[in-house]
């Protein structure tokens, strides 16, 4: 059942992504409205998929790579829907939906069966959820940074095209970027702490210098510097945008490259 819901939502996300991308080029209000409706219903089926999976498996579905990526997409779209309803920035969807769709299609390519959890892994969802929510926040910062760089380029080169009109103001994007990082950083910090505690609990050491841990610590340090730079010496605006776009590449590296290989429970 959960796989059916998942596939319906995947189809709807595909449609939503196509609509959101086509609204970039056009000026039709109808396109962006239907894109929003499609994204909303995709999110609805996606939620059904996650819930039914949880009921069927009897535990929070964050134990396989498929589940992690699926949850990541779900949280990303949730944030988009909230921001969209609050600020009405249609164009945000044109950036977030493709990201969510890519993550979801990677999930679709992975084995979908529900794993039977050893009792020792019962509480791992806390570590995974925190880390993932941190990642979602960094993804939002990445999207805001990307939009910032595009808008900044359009303003500097004095190109007032359709994209310029759709992208929001620079300081809004910078603000979104800053907020996303200040939210993502503590989440990642807690994710790392719970992860370390969990490692100590299961393997007897907080840190065993595997690639995942090094990646996570590197990401954490990077965002610490970005955050401190913003607060103290004014690394905002263009520099912040560049750094967060760059930082997210590191996050992807950690998330994909390392998790696929050898996460303890994968």
């Amino acid at each position: 059942m959960n796989v059916l819901f998942f596939e319906v939502s995947l189809l709807l996300y595909f449609l939503g992504t196509a609509l959101f991308l086509s609204q970039l080029a056009g000026r039709l209000e109808a396109v962006s409205q239907s894109a929003f409706v499609v994204a909303g219903s995709a999110f609805f089926f996606h939620t059904l998929a996650l819930v039914s999976r949880m009921i069927e498996g009897g535990h929070i579905p964050l134990t396989t790579m498929h589940e992690v990526l699926s949850f990541f997409s779900w949280a990303l779209v949730l944030v988009f829907l909230v921001v969209e309803l609050r600020y009405r920035i249609h164009i945000l969807g044109s950036f977030i939906l493709p990201l969510a769709f890519i993550s979801l299609i990677s999930a679709a390519a992975l084995p979908k069966e529900i794993k039977v959890l050893a009792p020792i892994f019962r509480n791992v969802w806390m570590h995974v959820t925190l880390s993932l929510l941190g990642t979602v926040a960094f993804a939002i910062a990445f999207v805001a940074g990307l939009m910032y760089l595009i808008q900044e380029h359009l303003l500097k080169s004095k190109h007032r095209n359709a994209l310029y009109h759709k992208l929001p103001a620079l300081d809004f994007l910078d603000d979104l970027n800053g907020k996303a990082i200040s939210l993502g950083f503590p989440l990642l910090t807690l994710g790392i702490i719970t992860g370390a505690l969990f490692a100590e609990f299961t393997r007897g050491s907080f840190l065993n210098w595997n690639a995942e841990q090094i990646g996570a610590l590197g990401t954490w340090l990077f965002y610490l510097v970005v955050l401190l730079g913003r607060v103290t010496v004014g690394w905002r605006a263009k520099r912040a945008a560049y750094l967060t776009v760059l930082g997210f590449a590191g996050v992807i590296f950690t998330l994909v490259g390392v998790l696929v290989k050898e996460h303890p429970f994968a």
């Binding site: 808008q151 303003l155 500097k156 004095k158 310029y164 992208l167 929001p168 103001a169 620079l170 300081d171 809004f172 910078d174 603000d175 010496v233 004014g234 690394w235 905002r236 605006a237 263009k238 520099r239």
Partner: protein, 445 residues
């Protein structure tokens, strides 16, 4: 009676000089009254804006009038010497003066063609002159006409759309840099009309804080009052710039007032919060390298107007339409001023009396039947004696005032009392027809 103008504007004089000479609104009444008392000046008006200072006068002797106004100009600002000032002055009289005034009120002479503020500024100057009673028949009529021409140009041609679109573009751009203009601050460097218009539009869009700096601090205080803003001493503005989210520069100084280094420093102080800089000045007052500074967005007037050739052509056409309109109106007013001269009025009055006399005589003689030549002579004498004696006083008074400053007033009254307007118009048309007749053979060659 001749209308003359001595003045300087953004094209002839550097901003440093213009700002020192500008007469603040608070001192305008006294200044215009003093000008009226100047030798040879019958009527006076002073138009002082950020881009121009102009003295208007009605004088009998044009050459003397020019000299008189020049002398007055030198005395406006104690810090400006004659040698420094005189090379920048322009002089207009008669037809040219009226044309200039009409072009000014139509904003064809403005830094940004089509800007709407100048019309209001002319109205203020006129109001001040009216309350000080320094204007008379000539300036009253010419100024009223100038204001109506300005309005016509605004409504009948598209030049006004240009200025509005420029400040609209500025607001639109500001909104792409700042999500919310409330709480943001704009700094006006120099207070040109276009800058003030843009600031006004920004305030309508929610902007609240305005800072103004001009070389002449008094002027900054004056302008700040209008915006409920903060005047900033000119020397302090590079430091104050870090508090400004938007900077509008419109001084027309000969060199760069804002350098890339200044902006970089300001951005450093404001922790890289973006700045939007608008350069309305010609030549530019903000160093173009500012555009390359991160987080600074520099737009000049051409960027705002958009470089599309079609727009440029369209603007040129609208300006030409406005010029044509001004030309027609100038012709009408010049003819009217000419009619205010005493001699044509006397002639018209005589002619009218003669016409009436002749008409009445013919009517009465045909009814009296056959008369002896002597009787006929007596009747004719009677008619002419009545009209001559009746007109005598009026003609003497008119002649006496021909050389005084009241001349135009008397002729205006005489024309009204005796209903001479049509009479004079007809003779002017005849004159004009004769002129073209005498010119046309030359044209054929």
């Amino acid at each position: 009676m001749n209308i003359i103008i001595v003045g300087l504007n953004h094209r002839t004089a550097p901003v440093e000089l213009r700002e020192r000479l500008a007469v603040p609104e608070s001192r305008l009444p006294e200044a215009v009254a003093r000008l009226k008392g100047w030798p040879g000046v019958a009527e006076s008006l002073i138009l002082s804006t950020c881009n121009r200072v102009e003295l208007y006068a009605v004088v009998k002797d044009t050459a003397l009038g020019f000299e008189s106004l020049r002398e007055y100009f030198v005395k406006i600002a104690p810090t400006v010497s004659g040698e420094e000032l005189v090379p920048y002055l322009y002089y207009f009289d008669g037809h040219d003066a009226i044309r200039h005034l009409f072009r000014v009120t139509s904003s064809l002479d403005s830094m940004v063609v089509g800007e709407p503020q100048i019309l209001g500024q002319v109205k203020v100057a006129f109001d001040v002159a009216l309350t000080q009673k320094t204007t008379g028949v000539v300036l009253n009529k010419v100024l009223k006409k100038a204001i109506s021409v300005g309005k016509r140009v605004r409504s009948e041609t598209g030049i006004a759309a240009n200025a509005v679109s420029v400040s609209y573009a500025a607001v639109e751009l500001a909104k792409k840099i700042f999500q919310n203009l409330a709480g943001k601050t704009v700094l006006l460097i120099g207070a040109g009309e276009m800058a003030k218009l843009a600031a006004r539009h920004l305030m309508q869009a929610g902007m609240q804080n305005v800072m103004i700096t001009t070389r002449n601090f008094e002027l900054a205080v004056d302008v700040a009052k209008h915006f409920n803003g903060l005047p900033v001493p000119f020397n302090d503005f590079p430091e104050e710039m870090s508090n400004a989210d938007i900077v509008i520069c419109s001084t027309g100084a000969a060199s760069y007032l804002v350098t890339a280094e200044d902006v970089q420093k300001a951005l450093w102080t404001r922790r890289n919060r973006p700045m939007f800089l608008i350069d309305i000045s010609v030549p530019r007052n903000i160093e173009p390298a500012v555009g390359a500074v991160d987080n600074a967005y520099l737009y000049n007037i051409d960027d705002l107007q958009g470089h599309v050739e079609k727009n440029l052509e369209q603007r040129r056409q609208e300006a030409m339409k406005a010029e044509d309109l001004v030309k027609d109106e100038v012709g009408l007013v010049t003819r009217w001023i000419k009619s205010l001269e005493v001699l044509p009025t006397i002639l018209a009055l005589r002619r009218k009396a003669d016409d009436i006399q002749k008409g009445e005589l013919e009517r009465i003689l045909s009814r009296l039947g056959p008369l002896t030549p002597r009787q006929r002579e007596l009747v004719e004498e009677l008619a002419s004696a009545i009209s001559n004696k009746l007109l005598h006083g009026a003609l003497v008074a008119l002649k006496a005032e021909a050389d005084s400053t009241n001349g135009p007033l008397f002729t205006e009254i005489a024309q009204r009392l005796f209903d001479l307007e049509k009479e004079i118009e007809a003779s002017q048309l005849k004159e004009a027809a004769e002129e073209t007749r005498t010119v046309s053979p030359d044209d054929v060659h």
